[in-house]
C-alpha cells in the first residue's frame, strides 16, 4: 500500500519536470530580468549598457508620467469585459440549451475568427469604422452621430474592438460551465414555484459562476494589456498602457521606465484578480 503511494508520488513529480523547466527558462528568468531592468539607472542605453543602481524612483516617475493611460487601460478593459460578459452569456446559454444539433457548428463559428490573424481582423475593423464607411454613414443618417461625427479615434471604437477580439475567450469558458448544468435542476426550480426569471438568478447563474469568473479573467487580463486595438482604432487620446510600454521599449529606448511600468501593470492585475476571485467565492479555481 505505502509502496504504491510512494510510487504515485514520484510519478507526479516526474510529470511536473517538463513544465517546470519550461516555465523556469521562459517565465521566471525573463520576469527576474524585467524586475532587474526596472531598477536600472535610466541614464544608460542599450548600446552603452545599464548599471544596476536600485533606482526605485523609476516607479514614481512612470506613475506620475503615465497614470492616465494606466487608469484608461483598466477602465477600457473593464468595460470590454462587461460587454463580453453580456454578449457572451446570451450566446453561450443559447448554444448550451437551445442549439440542439447545431451546437458543434456554433462552437466552431465562435472560434472561427482565430483562423485569421488578430492584426488583420483589427485592421478590417478600421475599414468598417472608417469615416465614409457604411456604419458611420448609417449612424449619421439616423442622427446617432452628428454630420461630422466619427467612430475611429474614439473610445467607442477601442472598446468595441476589444470586445470583439476577446469575445471567444469569454464564450468558451461560459459555455463549458452552462453546458454542465443539468436541465432537470431548472425543471426542479420551476416545480418549486420559481418563475423563469427567479429560476435563472437562483439556479442557472450561481451554477455558471465558475465560467463567469474564468471568462472574465481570460478577457480582462489580456484586454488591459492590449495595445493593438488602441493603436489601430484609437488616437493618442485613447492610448492604453500597452502602447506606452511598447513605445518606451522600441522608440524611446527607455528600458528601465518600460520595465517599471510592466511590473506595475502586472502587480495591479494580480491584486485585482485575487480580490475579485475572493469576492466571487471561487477560491478553488486558483
Amino acid at each position: 500500500m505505502s509502496e504504491t503511494v510512494r510510487k504515485r508520488g514520484r510519478t507526479g513529480y516526474l510529470l511536473l519536470i517538463p513544465g517546470v523547466l519550461w516555465l523556469a527558462l521562459f517565465f521566471v528568468v525573463p520576469l527576474y530580468s524585467l524586475v532587474a531592468t526596472s531598477l536600472f539607472d535610466p541614464s544608460g542605453s542599450d548600446t552603452t549598457g545599464y548599471s544596476m543602481t536600485y533606482h526605485w524612483v523609476n516607479y514614481s516617475h512612470v506613475i506620475s508620467d503615465y497614470w492616465q493611460p494606466l487608469v484608461r487601460s483598466l477602465a477600457y478593459g473593464a468595460l470590454a469585459t462587461l460587454f463580453c460578459l453580456v454578449l457572451g452569456y446570451v450566446l453561450a446559454y443559447a448554444i448550451a440549451f437551445k442549439a440542439g444539433r447545431w451546437k458543434n457548428l456554433m462552437l466552431v463559428l465562435v472560434i472561427a475568427p482565430f483562423f485569421t490573424s488578430f492584426l488583420v481582423r483589427t485592421l478590417s475593423w478600421k475599414l468598417l469604422l472608417a469615416d465614409d464607411g457604411f456604419i458611420v454613414n448609417s449612424l449619421q443618417f439616423v442622427h446617432i452621430l452628428g454630420a461630422d461625427g466619427r467612430l475611429l479615434a474614439t473610445p467607442v471604437a477601442v472598446i468595441a474592438g476589444l470586445t470583439y477580439n476577446f469575445l471567444p475567450f469569454m464564450v468558451l469558458p461560459l459555455y463549458a460551465s452552462i453546458d454542465k448544468i443539468d436541465p432537470r435542476l431548472i425543471e426542479a426550480s420551476s416545480d418549486l414555484y420559481a418563475n423563469p426569471f427567479v429560476g435563472f438568478f437562483k439556479v442557472t447563474w450561481p451554477l455558471s459562476l465558475p465560467g463567469v469568473v474564468s471568462g472574465t479573467l481570460l478577457t480582462f487580463i489580456p484586454a488591459v494589456g492590449d495595445y493593438i486595438n488602441a493603436e489601430l482604432l484609437g488616437s493618442p487620446n485613447q492610448r492604453m498602457i500597452g502602447s506606452v510600454i511598447q513605445s518606451l521599449f522600441t522608440n524611446a529606448n527607455n528600458y528601465p521606465a518600460a520595465g517599471a511600468l510592466s511590473v506595475i501593470l502586472m502587480a495591479l492585475i494580480v491584486v485585482m484578480v485575487l480580490f475579485y476571485v475572493r469576492r466571487a467565492g471561487t477560491e478553488d479555481l486558483l
Partner: protein, 388 residues
Amino acid sequence: MSQVAEQEPTTADAESYDGLRLRNVTKSFGAFKAVDDLDLDVPSGSFIALLGPSGCGKTTTLRMVAGLETPTAGSITLGGQDITYAKPYQRPVNTVFQSYALFPHLDIYENVAFGLRRRKSKEVDTAVRDMLELVELTSQARKKPAQLSGGQQQRVALARALINKPEVLLLDEPLGALDLKLRRSMQLEIKRIQTEVGLTFVHVTHDQEEAMTMADTVAVMNAGVVEQMGAPADLYENPQSTFVANFLGQSNLIEGTIQNRGGDVVTVDMHGIGVSVPTERCHADSDKGWVGIRPEKVLIGAPGEELDAPGNTIPGGVVTDVSFVGVSTQYLVRMPWGQELSVFQQNTGRHTSFVPGDKVELSWRPEYAFLLDFSQDASAGAQKVDAE
C-alpha cells in the same frame, strides 16, 4: 377505455371532483403517441402507483401533471380547477425527481427551504426544521447534497417537495438509484410519511413489488393507456388482460375453448380437459380464451395422489426442471400438449419432492383461475429473467 379508482363515478363532472382528474389526455412526440387518450381519476388523499415497463407513458403522464410537458389533447383538473396549461410554478403540485435534482450549490437547509422562499412564506425556519426532523436529517442541514449518501439525498428530495404541502405529490421512480435493501426501507418510510401527512401521492415505477407494497391503488400502464386499475391484491388475483397477468408476477396461460357460460361458472375445454372458471373472473368475449393460473396456486402430485383441489385436475405432466429457492421449490412441468407450466410448491416439508423426468398430475381450485381474451398476446408483459 376508462379506469376509475375506488367508487368514484366516471360521469361526474370535473367541477365537483376534488381529486386529480385526467380526461382524454394524449401526448404525441412526432408520430409517437407516448400517452394515448388516457383517463385517470386520483381521489384526494390516496396513494396511487402508475406501474409499467419503460416507454409505457407513465413518466410522461406524471410530467404533464407537473406541468413540465403540455398535453397534445385532453384536460387535467385538480380540485375542479383546470390546470392543463398552467405553468409548473403556478400549480399546487410538487415532484420528487428520479435523480433527485437537488441544487448542488445550496446546502440541505436551503434546498428544503427553496419552495417556501419562492412563495415568500413567513415561517420558513420552523417549517424547514420540522421537515428535516421528519426525514431525520437535522444534523445534515448545513451540508451540500454531494456530501450525502444516496438514501439521504433521496430523503432531502422528498422533504424539499413535501414541505410545500402540495395538493398532489409526484414521485418519479424515486427509489430507482438505491440498492435493494435501502429501497425496501424507503418504501415503508414513504408509505409512513404519506399516512402521516395525508396528501395525495402519485408514484411512478416499473417495479411491481414496489407499486404493490406502497400504493393503495395501482394503475398498470402499457403503450400509453391504463390497462387495469385497482387495489394491488385485486389486480394480482383477477387480472383482466394478459399484460397485467404477466407484468404483475407470473402466470400460466393455457389455450382453451369456452363450452358453457351458464350461471356462476364458465366451463372451458382445455386441450381435452374440462376446467371451470368463476364468471366474475372471465374476461373473454369470444369462444376461445386463455385460462390463467398463478404458479403458486397450482398443486403438484404423483399420478393418482389425493390433492386438496377438487375441480380442475390435469394429468399427464412430466417434470422437466426443478429449482430449489429456499422457501419454495419451482417446477417446470411439460404437459401432454407440449406447453411447459410453472408450479411453485411451498417447502412445508409435507410434500414429496420430484426430480426431472417424474410423471406428475397438476391441480388447482377453480376459484383461483381466470379467463382472458384469446386475441391478446399470451406473452405480453412477461418479464425477462434479468429484469431487475
